[in-house]
């Protein structure tokens, strides 16, 4: 009853696998028009859909398509892998731990004292130019920013600048919603309260003269966080919005004083604050602290020389066996240094090539019937 045409067409099925497809099944429109004379109410509709005869494509992965396809994919992957690996290798990274665990380390005294704004400094030497743009990260280990209770402990409405939530913070912020005398905390919650408060300055010693390296704190947080997701209440001066509230317990100064020098970097839209509020995925993480301002001597990055990082040591991590470090890194088109991607591409690329060779052997040996 049904005439079926077999067409050979080429189609690309997912995952870049080339395949040959046979067009199978199908009813031409004219046949649908031919109605039975004794059409009765009960007679089922004679349509392609009801008769399960919709025109269908039958993907056929034949050796002639698959083997070259695999070779191509394999080669492409190997190419990408090599590129990734080369790029990743070219990225310079400098990591310096300043937790102050051992007695010899520069910050050991600070790590043991509880003094506020304890100062210590780290020295390092660059033999060659540290290619710019250079990014200055701080890193924490064994720090669970992804802990569920921790992560939920904030009030997005408050951070969006909604004043009604200033006086009554969300209960999810507990136990950092009200202080001991029932004053609401703004910004409330564990995340805000535990904001990283070590500060760093970087100086270069060139022929005995110290020269502070310009650090740029703009654009270290996500653009959308800075411009949309977080907002200060539209009250001027900003300080008035915080009337009747108290600063987070562990903060040295209230939110409206985070950056008194730059109004657009103050309050909730402070870049450091935003960086901190974006929770890290894993317990060992790094967060962007500053970029080296590409100006003057630092046009091309950090030139060779002796450097000193002056640290204001506040953040306790040893109580939970954590560690702190500073990281200098430059980035490429693929982001920071990461060998995994390159290796993965190389491995899978060569796997594809090897597989196509195996397939070739199998096909040659067993001669599948489709190889006409």
């Amino acid at each position: 009853m049904f005439r079926v045409s077999v067409l050979q067409t080429t189609d690309v099925i997912p995952s870049k696998e080339k395949s040959r497809c046979g067009r199978v099944g199908g009813v031409s429109r004219s046949e649908k028009m031919v109605k039975q004379e004794s059409e009765s109410a009960n007679r089922p509709d004679n349509t392609a859909f009801t008769q399960q005869r919709l025109p269908a494509w039958q993907p056929i992965l034949s050796a002639g398509i698959v083997i070259p396809g695999f070779v191509l994919i394999g080669l492409a992957f190997i190419g990408i892998g090599v590129a990734l690996l080369v790029t990743s290798r070219s990225i310079q990274v400098l990591e310096l731990d300043y937790t102050g665990d051992g007695n010899g380390s520069p910050c050991s005294s600070c790590s043991q004292s509880t003094t506020v704004n304890c100062k210590c400094s780290l020295n390092f030497t660059l033999d060659t130019l540290f290619q710019g743009p250079v990014f200055f990260y701080y890193g924490l280990s064994n720090y669970f920013q992804n802990y569920r209770r921790y992560g939920a402990s904030k009030d997005d409405n408050q951070l969006y600048g909604d004043l009604s939530y200033f006086t009554s913070p969300s209960s999810s912020c507990s136990p950092y919603d009200y202080d001991g005398s029932k004053n609401p905390i703004v910004p409330c919650g564990s995340i805000a309260n535990s904001m990283f408060n070590d500060t760093f300055t970087l100086t270069r010693t060139v022929s005995g003269k110290t020269d502070s390296v310009p650090l740029d704190g703009k654009g270290i947080a996500w653009w959308t966080d800075y411009n949309v997701k977080y907002r200060n209440p539209s009250v001027t001066p900003l300080k008035n919005a915080f009337n009747g509230t108290v600063k987070p317990i562990d903060w040295a100064k209230p939110a409206y004083e985070l950056d008194t020098s730059d109004a657009s970097n103050n309050g909730f839209v402070n870049q450091d604050f935003l960086v901190w509020m974006r929770r890290a995925a894993l317990p060992n993480f790094r967060k962007l602290y500053r970029r080296i301002d590409a100006s003057g001597d630092y046009q091309n990055g950090l030139p060779a020389g002796n450097y000193t990082i002056d640290i204001t040591y506040n953040y306790p991590v040893r109580v939970f066996n954590g560690a702190k470090k500073v990281v200098f890194s430059n980035v490429s088109w693929m982001g920071g240094k990461n060998e995994f991607l390159g290796i993965a591409y190389l491995v899978i690329g060569s796997l594809c090539v090897v597989m196509s060779v195996v397939m070739l052997i199998v096909y040659a040996k067993f001669k599948f019937p489709d190889e006409e």
Partner: protein
């Protein structure tokens, strides 16, 4: 006073037997009882539906909870009410489940109403009142007209026929379409209106052929007359009145107490194997879930016990948390983990499965191949729960009459003295005969045609040796004329349709039976003369003798005995030199599937006749052992006969019955024929359907083979069973060398079967049943004849519960098949002529038997593959969905931190991945329908639940684990440096989850794409559409600050992810890595399906 005493005795006697009931005919109090207490019986309503409006919800919920899953969902739901907010979706799931079931039950309600609202005529106080059938009460006097079915079980009181008889056909009850004679109770004939009587009878019992009761008839103040009532007085609900204008009867059993209803078994919810597999898998996944939660809870507390970890300064507990009991905390943690991982249980699978079944079943009712232009109907799907079970059938139990055969006997050929006569075309033959020489003719070449006398003797024998009655013509005017009405118009009534076929066959050859009038049989012969024969005796047919005879006296005074019967019972009783000529014909005809009968005759001298006559009279009057004595006389007289010839009657098969049976056997399905019909008829049908073939060795276990001189039946049964068992089971070659082994066919009848099943007093009961079953299972086909409806169900039940619990399918068309239709895993009703009972109680109804082939081989196969894949895929996709979330717990201090956003968690199963698999499970044809129909053996590949056994399940589970590991650790390695953008900014935990989730959605969808072998535009649309929707949704979800959300976690996360080259690269490489084994498998597997498809088309 004396009379009352006797009556009291009677009632006492009856009361002691608890199982009796008293019925007041016409609800009139009878003088015997001072107080008239109207007894209470159930009304005449038939209920085959499961629910009412009132009990639908609770009853359905109860049945739903029989599924482990649903119970689990309820628990999780209750937990979630406290813990989280995804609850409303769960509620939707269970609602979804209920809807199709409600719809199906509504259809059953409609069908019931049709029966229950049927108008019947009730005689009440001398008036005729129209009532609805369901309002009939026990004791009502009903009037039923010709061709109506009886609305309840009635005792026949009055018939419009003069002789107080009526004819009924019980085709829809036991499958016998012949007419049965029922008798009125004497003395009730005259005035039903004023009849004052009570009926005492046994309580309802399902046996159709048994009825015991008595009737007290009161006339004025006379002594009540007592009449005994037997099955010949009882008209059963479901039977149809024939050849009688109208009858009156009193209702004794009504509604669910009628014999028909008692033979009908309650509808229990049938559950498919797939569902059982799902439940098993579900248990595994529940174990996985619980162990995951346990592991995490344990690890959490181990981790917290390390110094500084439990409550680091940056993450202090609330006061409430500190105060709660540690063990309570552990418990709530455990529950939270359960909620976190509960997505591993594919909740939405149940919805999808339900939808797939419901929507998929439309393809059956839409299939135009199932449309029968005769009855203008297509297939009907009564339950959609069992679609996939159609692909798993191992045993088919089929009714014979109306299912395999059309129950339309036709005279095909005869053989007279070794010459074969085949009727070709009546118009072209002057004398009605044409000779097509059979193989025997070569021997008797010279003889040529048989003498005309022999031919005529044969035809006279056919005309005389029967118990056929001529149906009175409704046009009385033509009755007196000698000219016979046209052949087709002449109506005959007989207890067996093949007798009619023989008489009609003789009619075509010029000898017409005109009827029996006061012991005189009239025959119109070829020369249009009426021959008269005096009918002296009828030696009735019985299954042991397997022949019947008549003794007639011709006008000329000759006394003749004509005998016809099965070859095996005739051959030993005729002169042996005549046998060989006929035997070959008979055997050939038998294996062609024709029903053969041999005809013999004998001259009786007056002395012989006198002896026979007196013998018969004496035996008939005997009070004890009447049957045995009659039999002895019969056997004595039916000896030394002359064989004239043999006849072949075809029990016309349904269209393509043989092809269908062959296809089913080719598909590895064992076909059993269960029939209420006689063994001979059924056997020939089996031959005609090619269920028995020429080389099939038949093993018979029937009343006949149990008759063995010098042995008790039980012993003989024992011997036979052992013998057959040895033949079929012990001596059978091992399975590998089955190819050349002997085919066995097994024949058993109802009486023997009940001996096998009910020999409970003997201690070897178990052995018998086992032996029997083993024999049956080693035979290619089994024929069970003379089955009562409940016995059919017993057989089905026995096979169903045997080792390996095979999937059974019953197909039948009459009410007598209902019990077996209900008992089997899948019940198929044929929309035949015998009413709608079977259709109503079936799971699927098809117009013709031939449709069974496509239903099983194509639809069943596809549905099974679809749903099996659906189930496995669902478990797989939820495993690899939740595994990363589980792994993440190791990196977040086991704090129940979800890896994915709540929206993703909820939408994953509902939107992102549900539609492609639904489309797959509706449209997939891994092998084209044509291929499936052509190669029945393909059906064997999916037999025994092949795709849902532990092997495939393990494969899918491992695949899920592999994918889950790849997704999580691939991204984990990437996140060793979270600066993934060229602006040096770091990604957070939601980015991590979103990358994993993106890989996940793409991988599982593409995995399905790889599995799809039949891409319709819908598949394309849904697969690519789902992926596009995911991307679109993610943009949208992350692109707006949603006012109703407390946390804007995903704000611009997805868009930021896409701006990172590394994220793109890792997504691509991980998808490929996940699918690599699958692609390899697709490429390297033998490309059977697709190529075969191309070759075919």
């Amino acid at each position: 006073a004396k009379k009352f005493k006797t009556l009291e005795w009677c009632t006492l006697d009856f009361d002691r037997r608890v199982d009796s009931r008293t019925i007041y005919v016409g609800h009139r109090p009878c003088p015997a009882n001072e107080v008239f207490i109207p007894p209470k019986f159930c009304d005449n309503r038939i209920v085959s539906s499961k629910y009412t409006v009132w009990n639908f919800l609770p009853k359905n919920l109860f049945e739903q909870f029989r599924r482990i899953a649903n119970f689990y969902f309820l628990i999780i739901f209750l937990v979630q009410v406290r813990v989280s907010t995804f609850c409303c979706t769960k509620q939707c799931y269970s609602d979804f489940d209920i809807l199709p079931q409600g719809y199906e039950d509504w259809l059953r309600h409609k069908a019931d109403n049709e029966v229950n609202k049927y108008r019947v005529t009730v005689l009440e106080d001398g008036r005729r009142i129209q009532k609805e059938s369901e309002k009939i009460k026990v004791g009502d006097v009903l009037e039923v007209d010709e061709d109506e079915t009886f609305p309840c079980d009635l005792i026949l009181l009055q018939s419009s026929r003069d002789d107080g008889t009526c004819f009924v056909t019980t085709a829809s009850l036991d499958g016998e379409s012949n007419h049965k004679t029922h008798y009125t109770v004497p003395d009730t004939e005259r005035d039903v209106e004023s009849l004052n009587a009570t009926i005492e009878c046994e309580q309802p019992q399902p046996d159709l052929y048994k009825f015991v009761g008595r009737m007290h008839i009161y006339k004025n103040n006379e002594e009540p007359t007592l009449r005994s009532l037997g099955p010949e007085n009882l008209l059963l609900k479901g039977a149809t009145l024939k050849n009688t204008q109208s009858i009156c009867g009193v209702a004794v059993y009504t509604g669910m107490e009628t014999k028909m209803a008692l033979n009908y078994q309650g509808k229990s919810q049938k559950r498919s194997v797939v569902e059982k597999s799902i439940n098993a898998f579900l248990l595994v996944y529940l174990c996985i879930l619980v162990s995951k939660a346990l592991v995490c809870t344990t690890l959490k507390y181990v981790w917290q016990s390390k110094p500084g970890q439990d409550e680091p300064w940056y993450n202090e507990k609330t006061l409430k948390e500190k105060e709660t009991n540690r063990y309570l905390n552990m418990f709530t943690d455990f529950l939270s983990f359960m909620v976190l991982f509960n997505f591993i249980i594919p909740v939405s699978m149940y919805v999808t499965v339900e939808m797939q079944k419901f929507l998929g079943s439309f393809f059956i009712s839409w299939d135009k191949d199932f449309f029968d232009s005769e009855i203008e109907e297509g297939a009907l799907v009564n339950t959609s729960d069992l679609n996939e079970e159609l692909g798993q059938v191992e045993y088919v139990f089929t009714d014979k009459t109306g299912t395999l055969t059309q129950n339309n006997m036709e005279f095909i050929e005869c053989c007279i003295d070794g010459h074969q006569y085949k009727y070709r075309d009546a118009s072209s033959e002057v004398d009605g005969f044409c000779v097509t020489d059979g193989p025997m003719n070569t021997v008797q070449q010279k003889a040529g045609r048989v003498s005309v006398e022999r031919e005529e003797l044969f035809l006279r024998a056919l005309c005389l040796c029967h118990t056929v009655q001529v149906k009175e013509s409704t046009e009385q005017g033509q009755d007196g004329q000698v000219v016979p009405p046209l052949q087709e118009q002449r109506g005959f009534i007989a207890s067996s349709p093949d007798e009619i076929a023989l008489v009609q066959g003789a009619m075509r050859y010029g000898f017409t039976f005109l009827g029996l009038e006061s012991k005189t049989m009239k025959i119109l012969n070829r020369t249009n003369d009426v021959e008269m024969y005096e009918l002296l005796h009828v030696l009735n047919f019985d299954p042991v003798r397997r022949r019947m005879s008549v003794i007639v006296r011709s006008i000329s005074g000759e006394t003749l005995l004509f005998c016809k019967g099965a070859d095996s019972s005739i051959f030993p009783r005729v002169k042996q030199e005549e046998v060989e000529k006929i035997r070959m014909h008979v055997e050939r005809n038998a294996t062609d599937g024709y029903r053969t009968l041999c005809v013999a005759y004998k001259h009786l001298t007056p002395e012989e006749y006198d002896q026979v006559d007196s013998g018969l009279r004496e035996a008939r009057l005997a009070l004890q052992d009447r049957e045995e004595k009659l039999m002895a006389v019969y056997n004595q007289v039916e000896t030394g006969m002359n064989l004239i010839g043999a006849t072949a009657v075809e029990d016309r098969l349904q269209e393509e019955a043989a092809e269908t049976m062959e296809a089913l056997q080719g598909a590895g399905i064992k076909v059993w024929v269960l029939t209420g019909d006689k063994m001979e008829t059924a056997k020939s049908t089996c031959y005609a359907c090619r269920l028995f073939k020429r080389n099939t060795e038949l093993l018979e276990l029937t009343v006949r083979t149990l008759e063995y001189p010098g042995k008790r039946r039980e012993d003989r049964l024992h011997d036979l069973l052992l013998e057959y068992h040895k033949k079929t089971v012990q001596d059978a070659p091992p399975a590998k060398t089955r190819v050349a082994s002997q085919d066995f066919g097994f024949i058993v009848d109802g009486a023997t079967l009940s001996m096998v099943l009910n020999s409970s007093s003997e201690n070897n009961l178990h052995d018998y049943k086992d032996l029997f079953l083993q024999i049956c299972q080693n035979c290619t086909s089994v024929l069970c004849c003379r089955m009562a409806p409940l016995q059919k169900a017993q057989i089905v039940k026995m096979v169903k519960n045997s080792k390996g619990s095979p999937i059974t399918l019953s197909v039948g068309d009459g009410a007598n098949d209902v019990s077996m239709i209900l008992e089997a895993h899948v019940g198929i009703g044929i929309k035949g002529k015998e009413g709608r009972q079977a259709v109503r109680n079936s799971d699927y109804a098809i117009p013709k038997l031939k449709h069974l082939k496509k239903l099983l081989l194509a639809h069943g196969h596809l549905y099974y593959v679809r749903i099996a894949h659906l189930v496995q895929y669902f478990f797989y996709k939820n495993l690899c969905f939740i595994l990363p979330q589980f792994l993440y717990q190791f990196f977040c201090g086991c704090s129940q931190q979800p890896l994915y956003d709540a929206a993703y968690l909820t939408m994953y199963n509902i939107c992102f991945t549900s539609m492609p698999i639904l489309a797959y499970s509706l449209f997939e044809q891994h092998i084209s329908i044509e291929m499936l129909l052509e190669n029945a053996t393909l059906y064997r590949q999916i037999g025994k639940n092949a795709m849902l056994r532990w092997g495939p399940f393990l494969y899918w589970t491992l695949l899920g684990v592999f994918h889950g590991l790849v997704f999580f650790f691939g991204v984990w390695f990437l996140f060793s440096n979270p600066a993934l953008q060229d602006n040096g900014q770091a990604f957070g935990n939601w980015s991590y989850g979103t990358i994993v989730f993106t890989i996940l959605v793409f991988t599982v969808t593409l995995k399905l794409a790889l599995d799809t072998r039949h891409w319709t535009w819908i598949n394309h649309f849904v697969i690519w559409g789902s992926l596009a929707f995911y991307v679109f949704f993610s943009f949208f979800w992350g692109g707006v600050i949603w006012p109703f959300l407390r946390q804007q976690r995903l704000y611009f996360v997805f868009a930021n992810m896409l701006s990172s080259v590394s994220a793109w690269l890792v997504i691509i490489v991980l998808i490929l890595l996940s699918l690599l084994p699958e692609i390899l498998y697709v490429v390297l597997r033998k490309p059977r399906g697709p190529y075969a498809r191309q070759v075919v088309l």
